[in-house]
Amino acid sequence: MTGSIAPTRREILTLYRQYLTTAKSFSSYNFRTYFLRRSRDMFRSNLVLESSSNPSSSSASSPFSKSSAQAVRSSPSAMVSSSTPPPSSREEKVKLFYQQAVDDLKVLQRSALINRMYEGEKLVVEKPKLVVVGGAEGLNV
């Protein structure tokens, strides 16, 4: 970690975009939606929340370990035991987060590829349907 420079705003956003594209490329509905949700929450809770100086968010032990804004509110963050000691400064924290996120992206990309190679049938909820404002109406016709 020492020696490397803190990621720029642009680098972080690029990485975030890569996460979203990778998550979207899963063929399984459940994995796709999970990784999209997870990636969003991970980046938002690490970057958006903190830049608005929220001190309550827990330290990063992995990009995947970050609790979403919702999770932090609805459950004690002490439920996640962090193995890494809390980074000293905000800059260190972002740096650590970024490096781990870069590593984990590789795992996610390979996972998406394998998932694509063994694509399965689509779920009933994926049925193309007229989009009805408000969600669950229009189902079960």
């Binding site: 509905y29 994995f31 995947f64 979403s68 999770a71 459950s75 439920m79 795992v107 049938e121 689509k122």
Partner: protein
């Protein structure tokens, strides 16, 4: 007791024999040694090798290399001429990826049912699969092979996984024994401890709502002459601590009570039970005679690990069963936590090569174990995030359903694990309900154990009558369940239940205010 300690010494000494036979000849010795010091200048290598022989042999004896890569390179022996044959150089594979992806099956229709059965099993997390694949492709060594790099790298991954699993439950890695799953861990714990201590103690306590594999193990022991107390549960599924206390005897060797119930999600007061066994249990055991330990506390945490925080020390747990496929890991692997201090002794179920401290012989499965370890690591990190998501969905499901239909009973304790929702739709035949819900994978209470259509014994233990037990469904919500799915399922349930009730004469009577229990059914 004596027999077992003899056995364990035998195992140990047979291991050390293997060690000393590792490099029988000088030539192979120097080869092996040089692997341990790959960076040493090769001309001085031979001399060093001989003078360090005993030292290095000792070092090698432990065979837990920290950097298998460097140890795998022979330095002393000249490289044989490489005769490159056909296939010795790798192609670029440039078009492979596109070709594979474009030929992957494509499905036009969307008919696959929604999976809401997280208690019976969970999908393998893609990140877990990624961790497993190297051990299903290149790294195929036997983790018990102590003489070469293939073995070491497998062993290393097994030990890393063990560490992760231990961390998930606050244990030490040495206390984790790999098994084939929670069924085996339950059998091993209950039978193993009961058999080991049977000369002094012959009593076992469990509950009526345990998983079949616990109940069946107890039944087997009963046939062999042990006495078993099956504690009843209250209508919310929790045991009554006073009843447990009253059931304790000086001869109680093991108490087995599950952490999270697989049918109703009830979380038993594990910490209180652990405490009771340390106090009252230990006191009673003293009466049984000198050297008698407190009753051991076993808990089946297959449904709890990775879902709620667990700590074996804080909770006073002596033995714990874990299953990988309930926490997004592969099927066919599990673990048993066995406390070392104070030590829990047991008879192994499976004898053989002495792997896993002699408690569970047989070659370990590195791909499955690596997956289990990664699943445990993820579970620990995602616990709060997953729990919040699952709680939200559970609440949504309950609200959706109860807002639209009446006479729905929520079984189990309201403070149970939210990922397991057991609902009774009164005056609806459970099987017809499942039949009509063919695009949702649900389980009626009993389906977990087998394909039997008998009403669930767990629901019966809560005091539900046959009819209500028959009309119950279990909704298993997990990490990958979405809001959309919950809405789809609740819509479906609402319309199917309404339709079935409209056809039911019983429902008509209920609507008219007739108390069904007053009716005399004749003929």
């Amino acid at each position: 007791m004596l027999a077992s300690s003899i056995r364990s010494t035998a195992v140990r000494s047979s291991r050390s024999i293997v060690r000393s036979e590792v490099c029988p000849s000088v030539a192979s010795t120097s080869r092996c040694l040089s692997t341990a010091s790959a960076t040493t200048n090769s001309t001085t290598n031979k001399v060093n090798d001989k003078s360090n022989l005993s030292q290095t042999a000792q070092k090698r004896g432990f065979a837990s290399p920290t950097s298998p890569n460097s140890m795998a390179t022979p330095v002393e022996v000249a490289q044989p001429d490489i005769k490159a044959g056909l296939g010795s150089s790798q192609g670029s594979g440039k078009n492979l990826l596109n070709s594979v992806l474009s030929s992957a099956p494509k499905y036009a229709d969307a008919n696959r049912p929604i999976y809401l059965d997280a208690q019976s099993t969970t999908p393998v997390d893609p990140r877990v699969l990624d961790k497993m694949l190297p051990f299903l492709t290149n790294q195929y060594g036997n983790p018990h092979s102590r003489t070469h790099a293939y073995g070491w790298e497998s062993e290393k991954s097994v030990e890393e996984a063990r560490e992760e699993i231990a961390k998930l439950i606050g244990a030490d890695a040495k206390e984790i024994i790999f098994t084939s799953g929670a069924t085996e861990s339950n059998n091993m714990s209950i039978k193993g401890v009961a058999q080991f201590y049977k000369s002094k103690k012959n009593h076992i306590i469990t509950t009526q709502t345990e998983h079949k594999c616990v109940l069946d193990s107890c039944r087997k022991l009963q046939e062999e002459g042990f006495e078993v107390t099956y504690l009843p549960v209250q209508s919310n599924g929790l045991i009554d601590m006073a009843e447990l206390e009253a059931a304790l005897r000086p001869t109680t060797s093991i108490v087995s009570i599950m952490t999270v119930n697989n049918e109703i999600g009830v979380i038993q007061p594990i910490k209180e039970i652990g405490q009771l066994l340390k106090t009252k249990g230990a006191e009673l055991s003293k009466q049984a005679g000198r050297g008698s330990s407190k009753p051991f506390f076993h808990t089946d945490a297959a449904q709890a690990a990775g879902k709620i925080p667990l700590d074996v020390n804080e909770m006073g747990i002596d033995l714990m069963s874990l299953s990988s496929h309930k926490l997004y890991g592969p099927k066919g692997i599990g673990a048993c936590y066995i406390r070392r201090r104070p030590r829990v002794r047991m008879e192994p179920l499976i004898n053989g090569g002495g792997q896993e401290r002699g408690l569970r012989s047989g070659t370990l499965a590195p791909p499955l174990i690596a997956g289990f370890g990664e699943a445990a690591r993820l579970a620990r990190q995602e616990l709060a995030y997953d729990h919040a998501h699952i709680s939200r969905l559970a609440e949504r499901l309950r609200n959706n359903i109860t807002a639209k239909i009446t006479h729905v009973l929520i079984n189990g304790d309201p403070d149970g694990y939210p990922g397991c929702q057991n609902l009774t739709f009164q005056y609806v035949e459970g099987e017809s309900l499942l039949m009509a819900l063919k695009d949702v994978c649900l389980s009626s209470g009993s389906a977990c154990t087998s394909a039997s259509l008998e009403p669930s014994y767990v629901l019966r233990a809560l005091g539900l009558d046959d009819a209500n037990a028959h009309s119950s469904l279990r909704f298993g919500i997990g990490r990958f369940t979405t809001e959309e799915e919950i809405d789809y399922v609740s819509e479906k349930i609402i319309s199917v239940v309404t339709k079935l009730r409209d056809m039911s004469p019983l429902w008509e009577m209920v609507q008219e205010g007739i108390d069904l229990s007053t009716i005399e059914w004749s003929g």
